[in-house]
Symmetry: C2
Subunit: 202 residues, 2 copies
C-alpha cells in the first residue's frame, strides 16, 4: 500500500543517495541504509537500478551533464576570453550551489565507479579541463592574458571551484553571484594584463 504518491522513485533514490554518499562516502553507505531512508526494502532498489554502482554512475554522469551544459552555455554566449572565463566560473558555481550534495559526490566519490564508467568519466573530466585550457590559450594568444604556465592557472581555478562543496558556510552566507565574483576576481587578477580586470574595491 503506497501511502502517498511517489513523484518519481528513481529520482528520489538518486536524491537520497546523493545526500548519504556526500555525508558518509559511497563505500560507507549500504543499500539497507539507503532503503531505510527512502522507506522501502533494500531489495526493492533493483526495480529501479541494476546495482549500487549504477546509482553512483547516475549521479556522477548527471552532474557531468550539468557541468557541460553550463560550459557550453558560457562559451556560446560570450566570445571574448575574459568574458568566457567569467561565464564559465559563474555557470560552474551555479551548478555546484544548485546541486550541493550531488556535486560533492561528483568530485569526491567518482573513484568508486566501476569500468567502463570510470574511464569514461575521466575522459569527460579531461575534456572539460581541456576546453577551459583553450580559453586560457586564446586569451594569451590575443594578448589579453599574461603568458604563464597554463597548468598553474588551471590548478588554481579548479582548486577554487572544486573545493567549493567543502564549505557549507560559504554556500549559506554568500550568493552565487558573490562567490562567482570572488573567484573570478582572484583568477582574473592573477592572469589579466594590466588592471582592466579589477572590479573590486576596499
Amino acid at each position: 500500500m503506497p501511502e502517498k504518491k511517489t513523484p518519481d522513485r528513481k529520482d528520489q533514490i538518486a536524491q537520497v543517495a546523493s545526500e548519504h554518499f556526500h555525508e558518509k562516502g559511497y563505500m560507507a553507505v549500504s543499500m539497507r541504509d539507503l532503503a531505510k531512508e527512502v522507506g522501502i526494502e533494500a531489495a526493492s532498489f533493483y526495480n529501479h537500478y541494476e546495482s549500487k554502482g549504477s546509482i553512483l554512475k547516475e549521479i556522477c554522469f548527471r552532474m557531468a551533464d550539468e557541468f557541460f551544459s553550463g560550459l557550453n552555455r558560457a562559451l556560446s554566449e560570450h566570445h571574448l576570453p575574459a568574458a568566457q572565463l567569467q561565464a564559465i566560473i559563474r555557470e560552474h558555481v551555479g551548478v555546484v550551489l544548485k546541486n550541493f550534495s550531488a556535486s560533492a559526490v561528483f568530485f569526491r566519490e567518482w573513484r568508486h565507479l566501476s569500468e567502463p564508467w570510470l574511464s569514461q568519466f575521466l575522459e569527460l573530466r579531461r575534456r572539460y579541463e581541456e576546453q577551459v585550457r583553450q580559453v586560457l590559450s586564446q586569451g594569451m594568444n590575443q594578448g589579453l592574458f599574461r603568458q604563464m604556465d597554463q597548468n598553474v592557472v588551471v590548478y588554481t581555478l579548479f582548486s577554487l571551484l572544486n573545493g567549493l562543496h567543502e564549505w557549507k558556510e560559504v554556500q549559506q552566507r554568500f550568493s552565487p553571484q558573490e562567490v562567482t565574483d570572488h573567484i573570478a576576481g582572484i583568477v582574473l587578477n592573477g592572469i589579466a594584463v594590466g588592471d582592466q580586470a579589477k572590479h573590486h574595491k576596499s
Copy 2:
C-alpha cells in the same frame, strides 16, 4: 622466519596504509589488502595496532602534528603578518609535498575516524584555521591587508592548500618554492593594500 630485518613494522604499516587509503579510500581497503602488501597476515596487524581505525587515527594525527609544527615554526620565525602568512603557506606546502599520500588521507579520509577521535580531529582543524584567521585579523588591524571578509580569504587559502594533493602533476613539475610563491602570490595579491605585495610583472 623473518626473511629480512623489519625497519619498523608499525611505521611500515602506516606508510603502506597511507598509500592505499589514498588511492582507494579508507573504506575500500580491507585489512587483507593491506596484509598482502605488507607481507603478513591480516591478523598480525593486531600486534601493532588495536584496530583498523587506529591505523587511520595514527595517520591523521601524525599529519596534524606535522601541520602544527609548521604553523608554529612560521609564527615564531616571523612577526609581520604578510611574512607570517607567506611562511605559513611555505610550511604547509612543504608538509603536503613531503607526505603526499598521508596528507591526502588527512584531508579526505578523516570523516571515517571514530569517536572520540573525530571530535578531537575537528577541534584541531578548527584551531589551525583560527590561528591563520588571527594572522589575517592582525594584518587588517595594522592596515597591511585590505578589510574584507575573513571567511572568504580563509576559504580561498585553504581551497588552494587543501586541493594540492589532488594534483600529482603539480607536485612533479614544480618545486615546493614555486608552488609556495604561486599560492602566496595569489592570496597576497588578493588581500594586500596597494601594490607593494605584487612581485610579478608582464
